[in-house]
């Protein structure tokens, strides 16, 4: 009996403990999340900062695999007779000012394939923004803009009548234009819950047990040539002289991925087809006689500086001296370019636009387009890099802001 009683007490205790643990892990509403970012949007334009996608929504959204899915538009049908697509607005969507979002008939000409139309509609710049009487932008997302100080800070508050359900957080305080060391300091002092960190610091944070979040590769690190000083042979020599492996293993601490392609493997699926091997003897042949190129990179960014210096060391073996120079007078510059879309076409088009390379309209596949874009080595892709965030221990479900909640058991 005593043994049975003891077993019962233990069983009850275990059940009570399990119940308490379950309660702690269950999302809870409320709280303020403090975020810091380097981004400096001047206006609440959805295309200027990622967090604004939680304020202004698009008709169509790309899922994690890059496939379009209905969002503010619940469905779409084709009218061949009138050569247009009709998009049906989602019901019961309320704007941040309490008004019902009733756009009426939404039609798009069918002069392009529907896939392309949907990808375009998924772009942040095509988000639904309604102008209030005072001219301020009003959205439909889970958060509304309560305060906006251009390039400095913004306060987002929960949209209680959000069609997808109220977000867990009451408020998100966002400090913008923060330098990485400032973000790190604020994080260490407990003044921020979420900060960006360089991927080169990932190991240090992990060694300390700090929760970090690493996204799939979201930007490309590449060399971009300008002017005519470097011809095709010189550019190819530079590409062949760079030891990507050493940079990846040591400087990037094996974060991201080595790549000779513009799109990362998870978006394009073919990046391994582009060569990344080093061939110094061939590079030396191509670079003969020795050349000097003005080389620009962001010397304030420790990672960029380290990679730039390493590239200069690599190319010097091939007889190419990369002399540090100001960005305006450079023959070649080391660039970080964002990959703004999970859709390969959208991402490639955006990269081509950023790199000012003519778009190969005849290309049948993203792979074909990329082959054309990279001809002549005007751009030399080096690595695809992820975003990395350090999180305070109370933050849960990052990075989807609408799903983030704060664990009350953890101190801020």
């Amino acid at each position: 009996m005593k043994r049975t009683a003891s077993r019962s007490i233990v069983a009850v205790s275990v059940l009570l403990a399990a119940g308490t643990l379950e309660a702690a892990r269950r999302p809870r509403y409320g709280g303020e999340l403090r975020i810091e970012t380097r981004a400096t949007p001047r206006t609440p334009d959805p295309s200027e900062a990622a967090f604004l996608s939680y304020v202004f929504e698009t008709l169509v959204r790309l899922d994690d695999r890059g496939e379009p899915e209905p969002w503010l538009a619940a469905s779409w049908t084709h009218e061949p007779a009138r050569k247009r697509w009709i998009f049906t607005a989602r019901q019961n969507v309320k704007l941040h000012n309490g008004a019902l979002w009733a756009p009426g008939l939404i039609s798009v000409a069918d002069d392009q394939p529907i896939e392309k139309i949907l990808r375009d509609l998924a772009r942040p710049r095509n988000a639904v923004v309604v102008r209030a009487e005072d001219g301020s932008p009003v959205g439909t997302g889970p958060f509304r803009i309560a305060r906006w100080e251009a390039e400095k800070s913004a306060t987002l508050t929960a949209h209680d009548e959000y069609w997808g359900g109220r977000p867990y957080l009451d408020r998100a305080e966002i400090r913008m234009g923060r330098a990485l060391p400032e973000e790190a300091l604020d994080f260490e002092l407990g003044k921020a819950d979420v900060v960006e960190i360089p991927i080169t610091d990932l190991r240090r944070f992990r060694q300390r047990g700090v929760p970090v979040f690493v996204s799939p590769p979201s930007e490309i690190l590449a060399l971009e040539f300008e002017g005519t000083l470097a011809n095709d042979a010189i550019r190819e020599a530079v590409a062949l002289s760079i030891d990507r492996g050493a940079i990846y293993n040591v400087l990037l601490q094996k974060q991201g991925e080595i790549s000779g392609a513009l799109l990362p493997l998870w978006i394009g699926g073919y990046s391994f087809l582009f060569a990344t091997e080093r061939d110094v003897s061939r590079a030396r042949q191509l670079a003969s006689p020795p050349r000097t190129l003005a080389f620009a990179y962001d010397r304030q960014d420790a990672m960029m500086r380290a990679i730039g210096e390493r590239i200069a060391v690599n190319t010097s073996e091939a007889g190419i001296t990369m002399r540090p120079a100001a960005g305006t007078t450079a023959d070649v510059r080391l660039e970080r370019l964002p990959i703004i879309s999970r859709d390969p076409w959208l991402a490639l088009e955006e990269l081509a636009s950023l790199l000012k390379i003519p778009w190969p309209s005849a290309a049948g596949t993203p792979y074909d387009a990329e082959r054309v874009l990279l001809e002549g080595f005007r751009v030399i892709p080096l690595f695809h890099l992820p975003d990395a965030w350090a999180l305070s221990r109370r933050v849960r479900n990052w990075p989807h802001l609408a799903d983030v909640w704060l664990d009350a058991r953890e101190t801020p």
Binding site: D243, A246, V250, L251, A306, E309, R310, A312, V313
Partner: protein, 580 residues
């Protein structure tokens, strides 16, 4: 240049040369003394530099050993630290350069060039440098070039790999040398990278020649560098190569300012110039006084000689000394005395000869009429015994003859009297061409006289008037004599040509004939009074011409050759001075 001037120059140059020689000798001696002192000071500085280099080397070794023993380096060597961890270790050990190396010298982490991980260390480290007791100089590559540094190598704690650390040779290193005033140490580290204790050196390219000499020879070299246009900015350098295994790591330049030396040299130079200038001035004065004493007798001799040459044979010079100059003066005086005696003898001889000639001419002239006089008187004496009518006839004839001959004698005597009584010329403005025309007109009848060969007159007169200041009557007389002379020279006829022309502000009058001409001896004696080549002449015609020309301050000459005629040329001045 006069003898006095030459003597002055010689004495001045002698003084100036002596002063320059002394000044130069003092300057050279001073410069050598300075150079010797500077060389000693620079050698001392080099010794001090070597000692300081040793001390700094020991310090580097201590720092590298400290780094090699640090836990951080052990982590790096074990591959358990970030690739740029060496920077923190270098800062902790106060090293400018730090490489943590694998046993095969592959860089694990580099403090000064983090991007070089995975590459071989390039500090020219040889196996004997591992665990070497001493530090060594080397060139360390950097992104911006390379730096000269004092390096040491030690094994990393735990036996995995090595630690190579170094400190840059910098201005601070040179400051520690504590140099004497006027001395300066420079470090050439790379082209156009030269530092001294204060930092970078301006115009480092001025050292290129010296550095190139050190690079070429690999040995110590000397040179002087002038930093600015001012010569006192010059600095004498000894360039000492800092080499290792035949490779030049840097050059230590021990410099000594030449400012004081140049200032002293300038002072000596100016003193020399001052002394030299004073010497020259004194030399000039002394030379002037000396040469005055030496050249005055010589100048007197020269003046005497000029006077003798001018015709004053009575000139004498004072004999002021008993030396060679005095002897020369005595010889000069003796010479002029001899000349005077000889001239007196010549004049006396000439006078005697003239009198003899005059006597002969007078005898000849008087003899001719006297002989008929004598015959006539003797005829009268003989006719006294003849009948009266016959005597009367003889008497009339004889008296006529006597009168004629007496008139002849009177004429002869009158001519001589006229020559003796040549009047002084009365100068007035006359036209020479007009005088020529008048004279030629007077003799025109003679030119055309029958019974004798014809003489053709030719006039070649200058255009316009030829006015000069002259006595027209005397000029007509002289020209008439020359015309008569020419006519006499052409007994077989010929051409008599008279030409006038302007000549040096005066007039040239030329009378020429086409007669038998004159010998040289005749030409020489032609103007001697009473000399004539004619049987009936008195020898006074040309003498009168010469007298007239002389009274007009003119000049007469004759040009003739036997058989080719003769030409008498008279040059007369346009204006007359004081009358003779």
């Amino acid at each position: 240049m006069t003898f006095r001037t030459k003597l002055l120059f010689i004495s001045s140059f002698t003084v100036a040369g002596a002063v320059a020689l002394v000044t130069g000798a003092v300057s050279v001696s001073t410069r050598r003394s300075f150079e010797r002192i500077d060389r000693e000071r620079r050698e001392a500085m080099l010794d001090q530099f070597r000692r300081e280099l040793d001390a700094q080397g020991q310090d580097v070794i201590r720092r590298v050993e400290k780094a090699a023993a640090s836990p951080g380096v052990q982590q790096i060597a074990a591959g358990a630290a970030e690739y740029d961890r060496a920077q923190a270790e270098a800062d902790a050990a106060s090293l400018d350069f730090l490489d943590v190396l694998q046993p095969d010298l592959t860089i694990i982490s580099s403090a000064h060039w983090p991007a070089r991980f995975g590459y071989k260390n390039d500090w020219q480290i040889a196996p004997e440098d591992w665990n070497a007791a001493d530090a060594f100089l080397t060139r360390i590559p950097q992104p911006e070039g390379s730096a000269t540094a004092l390096a040491a190598v030690r094994p990393a704690a735990g036996g995995k790999g090595y630690v190579a650390g170094a400190r840059r040779l910098s201005p601070e290193f040179l400051k520690s040398l504590g140099l004497a005033p006027g001395l300066r140490a420079l470090l050439w580290l790379a082209p156009h990278e030269v530092v001294d204790a204060k930092g970078g050196v301006r115009d480092p390219e001025k050292l290129d020649g010296l550095i190139a000499e050190v690079q070429r020879s690999g040995r110590q070299a000397n040179g002087v560098v002038q930093w600015t246009a001012d010569r006192s900015s010059s600095e004498a350098f000894v360039a000492f190569p800092l080499s290792r295994r035949g490779r030049l790591m840097g050059v230590l330049l021990a410099g000594a300012s030449l400012r004081e030396q140049i200032a002293l040299e300038r002072s000596i130079l100016w003193t020399g110039v001052l002394v030299g200038g004073s010497g020259i001035a004194i030399g000039v004065l002394l030379g002037w006084w000396t040469t005055e004493r030496i050249t005055r007798p010589v100048e007197r001799l020269a003046a005497g000689a000029r006077a003798v040459a001018g015709g004053d044979w009575s000139t004498r010079v004072d004999v002021m000394s008993q030396d060679e100059i005095g002897e020369l003066a005595r010889a000069f005086n003796h010479m002029t005395e001899q000349l005077l005696e000889q001239r007196e003898r010549a004049i006396q001889a000439e006078r005697v000869a003239a009198w003899r000639e005059l006597a002969r001419r007078l005898a000849h002239e008087l003899k001719n009429p006297l002989f008929p006089l004598q015959i006539t008187v003797e005829n009268l004496q003989r006719a006294r015994h003849r009948p009266e009518a016959e005597f009367d006839e003889v008497f009339r004839e004889s008296t006529s003859t006597l009168l004629a001959e007496l008139a002849n004698l009177n004429t002869i005597i009158g001519r001589f009297s006229d020559f003796a009584k040549m009047p002084r010329p009365q100068f007035e403005s006359v036209d020479v061409n007009e005088i020529v025309r008048v004279v030629m007109k007077l003799h025109d009848a003679r030119f055309r006289a029958g019974g004798r060969p014809k003489i053709e007159p030719e006039l070649d007169l200058a255009a316009g008037e030829l006015r000069i200041s002259a006595d027209g009557e005397q000029l007509r007389r002289a020209l008439g004599n020359l015309v008569l002379n020419a006519m006499d020279a052409m007994p077989s006829g010929g051409t008599l040509r008279v030409r006038t022309a302007r000549q040096d502000g005066g007039v040239r009058l030329e009378v020429s004939d086409t007669g038998q001409g004159l010998t040289q001896e005749e030409c020489a004696r032609l103007f001697t009074p009473y000399y004539t080549t004619k049987h009936h002449g008195t020898g006074l015609g040309l003498a009168i011409v010469q007298s007239v020309v002389s009274d007009h301050h003119g000049k007469i000459s004759v040009a003739s050759q036997p058989g080719l005629g003769a030409a008498f040329i008279i040059d007369l001045p346009g204006k007359q001075g004081d009358p003779l």
